[in-house]
Structure formats: structure tokens, C-alpha cells
């Protein structure tokens, strides 16, 4: 009895360790997504990856003849994950920045994103007031808006507010609703998603320049980047692109 149990445990240990690599061994490209980033990437009711980027990439993959699988990941470690070959691409509402360009290659821009402040629906405060009076502002860790606010607003010390770091933008919105923070800084698309689901409103932009979303791949994978770019261009020219935008309520 005891021996059989031991045997079972050893086998299951071995199996558990082989399940992981099995994922990356077949020739399917893995797209790392931040599943906490609706409407670009999230998990639907049945637990399947869904979202604007997910569906767009599915179309591109089909068009360019490769297979893709979407893997939810920890956002602030997603670029190291890409470079550590744990995933092969990132199509999950990632802003193209110079700093990131040092690490990865980006596709052509496919969506212009504006950073906005989200506050309570009945809050009368303006952007300037929100970023003042010792208020607290929430932001997702490892995002471009986090970095920009730190460098341009906090470090220069012009404004009187403090920054709180969250696991995801929706958690920051949750805390706006809780009244713990005055506002959350985030991309406008997920902000719109939040407005639909929570008693919050978009107050406006806070001076951060607009950014472009692009898909990221490893520097070495130029062939894959070409495929993605070709596919993306084709997709943006076809009516499905507009359909997707309508479906996920972008614009």
C-alpha cells in the first residue's frame, strides 16, 4: 500500500514537471496576454481568452498560416517572459516605447491610445484638482502611464499627489469606487469598459502624450514579425477590423 502510494507520487511529480514543457514543444506560437485588460485582452465567461487583440491575432494567424495560443501572464514581467522564450509574442494592448524597443521589436502601430484619469461619477474635481491636494492616484504596475507619471509629475514635484501601484487597472478602478483613491490613471479603452460596469467617469487626459499600441516579438524573430506585420496590414484594410472595433466598443 505504502509503496504504491509512493510510486504514484513519484510518477505524478514527474508528470507535473513534464506537462509544462509539453506546452512549448509543439509548434504553436504562444501569445502572452494580460487577462486583466478588457477590452483588449480578458477571459470570457467560459474561461477562454477573448478581446480585441486576441481576436485580431487569431485572424492574422489564420491568414498567415501559423497557430497561436493565448496565455495569460503577469503583466509587469511580460517582456522578460518574452525574452526568456516563455512566450513568443505579446498582443495585449502594449504601448510602443523607446525603453521597450531596447528589449523587443514592435509591429506597426495599430491603435492610438490616450491615457486618461478615471474618477467617481459624481466627483466634481477636474484633472488638475485630482492631481493635487495630496490626493492618491492609482496605476497599474509596470505600465507606461506609471512610468510617465513618476518621471514627469512626481519626480519633478510640481504636483501634490501620491501614486499607488496595483496589480491591474480594474483593481485601481475598484479602489476609486471604494473611495480610497481619487482617480486611476489608465488607457482610455479599458477606462470606457470600466465606465460601463462601475459608477465612474472619465475626467480627461492628464498631459501624457498619446501612445501607439503594437505587438511585440523577440528581436531575433524577424520572420515572425514580418508575418505579423503583413497580416496586420491586411486585417486593418478589411471590414473585419471595423467589426472588431464595434464589437469591443473601441472608438
Amino acid at each position: 500500500m505504502a509503496k504504491r502510494i509512493l510510486l504514484f507520487l513519484v510518477i505524478s511529480a514527474a508528470m507535473a514537471l513534464t506537462i509544462g514543457p509539453a506546452f512549448s514543444q509543439d509548434k504553436v506560437y504562444v501569445n502572452g496576454i494580460d487577462a486583466n485588460f478588457p477590452p483588449f485582452a480578458f477571459v470570457d465567461k467560459n474561461g477562454n481568452p477573448d478581446g480585441f487583440d486576441v481576436k485580431a491575432l487569431d485572424w492574422i494567424a489564420k491568414d498567415q498560416g501559423f497557430k497561436v495560443k493565448h496565455q495569460p501572464m503577469d503583466w509587469d514581467g511580460i517582456i522578460p517572459s518574452l525574452n526568456a522564450k516563455k512566450i513568443d509574442m505579446i498582443a495585449s494592448g502594449m504601448s510602443i516605447t523607446d525603453k521597450r524597443r531596447e528589449q523587443v521589436n514592435f509591429s506597426i502601430p495599430y491603435y492610438k491610445i490616450t491615457q486618461v484619469l478615471v474618477a467617481l461619477k459624481d466627483s466634481k474635481l477636474t484633472v488638475d484638482q485630482l492631481l493635487d491636494q495630496g490626493n492618491k492616484v492609482g496605476v497599474q504596475r509596470g505600465t507606461t502611464e506609471a512610468k510617465w507619471i513618476e518621471e514627469n509629475l512626481i519626480k519633478k514635484g510640481k504636483k501634490n499627489f501620491s501614486l499607488l501601484y496595483y496589480d491591474s487597472a480594474p483593481l485601481a478602478v475598484e479602489d476609486v469606487v471604494n473611495g480610497r483613491i481619487a482617480a486611476a490613471a489608465m488607457d482610455d479603452a479599458p477606462a470606457k469598459d470600466a465606465v460601463k460596469k462601475k459608477p465612474v467617469r472619465i475626467v480627461g487626459t492628464f498631459g501624457m502624450p498619446d501612445e501607439d499600441f503594437g505587438y511585440a516579438v523577440r528581436k531575433a524573430d524577424t520572420e515572425l514579425l514580418d508575418k505579423i506585420n503583413t497580416g496586420l496590414k491586411k486585417l486593418m484594410a478589411c471590414p473585419y477590423w471595423q467589426e472588431l472595433k464595434v464589437k469591443y466598443e473601441l472608438d
Binding site: 509587469d76 514581467g77 517582456i79 522578460p80 525574452n83 528589449q103 492609482g138 504596475r141 509596470g142 512610468k147 499607488l164 501601484y165 496595483y166 496589480d167 483593481l171 475598484e174 479602489d175 469606487v177 471604494n178 473611495g179 480610497r180
Partner: protein, 224 residues
Amino acid sequence: MEELLFIRQDVLPALLRGLRISLMLIIPSGLCGFALGVFVGALRVYGSPWVKRLTNGYVIIFRGFPLVVQLFIWYFGLPHIGIYLTPFLASVLGFTLCSAAYHSEYVRGAFQSIKGGQRLAAQALGFTKLEMIRTIILPQAFRRAVPGCGNELIYLIKYSSLAYMITCIELTGEGKVIASETFKYTEIFFMVGLIYLLLTSLATLSLRRIEDKLRIPGFDNYNP
């Protein structure tokens, strides 16, 4: 060279800042957790039946829910019933309640390990119940609980790394923020790990000294 400068100018100050917050989390949580644990442990042994049921229920829930889940509930859940805690307070509350549940297990075991004769003898001498617990039972139970509770403190040091998930940016959080900005995960988490190792080793050593100080001849043959 550039690397070293970067570590000295950016990484170390951030990690030290984080360490300070970590300590500010660990110390009050450790103390309150232990105090509450002793209280709950005593209630679980000496309380009336419904007090026992209540405290046992508390322990089942707080030992059964993962700490991450508890922290999320304290921070994001309590506002649903109108209680707003700062990230720091929510972390301290979460750590305190969770570690108190564990402490109470060790304390309960310690209380139960004390032979009935000790109580009888104290009662026969005319001790009041409170005096008996204070002067006869507690000093003995305390010694028996120290190894287990000490372990729990080490756990607490390690689990304090979860506080960043509810925006209380402590050592691990600072590490994560810099790592995601600089992409130097390996180096930074290596340093973070070293700091924790230092903390837990220091705690282990001082706990061992406390145990030695409290040692009484013939009293240490106890297997939890």
C-alpha cells in the same frame, strides 16, 4: 562598473526603502498576532463550549484561506461593507489575523500539554483561576509554545512579501517595480532574496537565544 553604479544609485535605496516598510509590517503584525494568538489559544482550551466553537471556526477559516485571498478581501472586500483600510493597515490586519490563527494552534497545544496535576496543585493551594493561569499555566505553556510560535514569526517575515499585491509596496514590491522597469529580474530578486535570508536568519538566531534563555532543566523534552 555602470552596473555597480546603477545598483548603488537606484536599486539599493529602493530596496532599503522597501525593507523599512517590510519591517514596519512585520513587527506590529508579529506582536499583535502573537498576543491575539495567545488569547485565542487560551479561549480554545478554557472557554465555554460556544466560545470554543467560535474560536475554532475562526482558526479553520483563517488557516484555510490562502493569505493572498485574505489580503484581497481585507483590502478590496471590506469597502463593500463601508470599511476603508489603508494598504498598510489592511496588510497588518491580514497578517495579524492569519498568524494569530496559527499561533493559537501552538498555544492550544502548549496549554493542553500541561499535565492536569499542575492545575490541581494550584487549585489546592487556593489560587484563583486567573492567578493560576497567569503564574502556573502561562509560564509553562509559553515555553512550550516558543518553538512553534517562533516558526510562525519566520513565516510572517516571508509572507510579508505579499503586501505589495494590495499596493503596500514593501521589499518585494520595490524589487518588482525596479525589475519591471529595468528588466533585470535575476539580479534584483537575487538581492531581495538575500535580504530576506538575512532577516529570517537573524530572527532564527535570536529566537534560539530566547529559547536557550528560557530553558529549564528537564523541561525541554517536549515533542509538538
